[in-house]
Symmetry: C2
Subunit: 166 residues, 2 copies
């Protein structure tokens, strides 16, 4: 994994000490990962809708964010109106394990390696937290993506039971 660059001090002030630059083919854009810049829930919902995910009640999304271990926004920097162009979050205890959820990159920005850099950012952050093991649940369409990225598929029907409520 190529390490992500630390942005200039003024950007660190705006996006937090853990902010990192996200490389992009378009030189005109400054894309920044942040763990601390607060989300506008309407903007987050629009991003997730653009990716094709089903609408979720905002009251519940607020609780989900509150209970998540790590929330990462990918911002297209603008001095006045930064735009949210990517998102991911983790749950877990952050020590023995963490699970990655809701990795989303806006369709207009896909195909630039932003998803890969998002995973790099998340794994770095969890590593710094001291997390021993990271898991994710991949939909069939993206299993190959994660396999190429070095994730091991859980041995079949071993240490993996699931229960769907209701």
């Amino acid at each position: 994994m190529t390490p992500l660059q630390v942005p200039a001090g003024s950007l660190l002030q705006q996006y937090g000490e853990a902010a990192r630059l996200c490389a992009c083919s378009n030189d005109q854009l400054t894309l920044i990962f942040s763990q601390t810049k607060p989300f506008d829930l309407v903007e987050l919902e629009r991003l997730l809708e653009a990716v094709g995910w089903s609408r979720r009640p905002m009251r519940r999304v607020r609780k989900v964010l509150y209970n998540s271990l790590l929330k990462v926004g990918l911002w297209r920097h603008d001095p006045r109106v930064p735009r949210l162009v990517g998102f991911a979050r983790c749950t877990g205890d952050g020590i023995f394990e963490a699970t990655v959820w809701d990795v989303a990159v806006h369709p207009l920005y896909q195909g630039n390696g932003l998803g890969k850099q998002m995973m790099t950012y998340i794994l770095d952050a969890l590593n710094q937290m001291g997390t021993e093991r990271v898991s994710l649940f991949a939909d069939p369409g993206v299993v190959d993506f994660y396999r190429r990225e070095g994730w091991d598929l859980e041995p079949q029907a071993h240490r993996c039971a699931f229960w769907y409520a209701g």
Copy 2:
């Protein structure tokens, strides 16, 4: 699932509003589930060691408990010195999903259906929180237990990728 009984008011004061009685073949014992009674980390470590789990640094266990969504203690009630005889915890956002970890019943108290009641207690608590889906990772030796309890095994190699950190 048989609903768990609410204990008398004096016990609710001691073990919290969400406390429930755990039925047991020995009439002399009062066993109580609690989400709020604080753990003594040394006592928790002794319980987990008795179950045969590897020792973990206490500093990290403290963070794990802090970051967990739900911590459940099963206490053998005593007016002066209640004893921790069971434990379990969950991580997750508590809305879309939660994962159950570290379900432990002290060997002296096993074979009484306490583990089943622990799962009932946890699923009730998550249900009240509004959790849509609950998952757990079962070791090979207990897969059948969870299957009998109504958990569905995750379809093989579908929606399940894992990565073990360095």
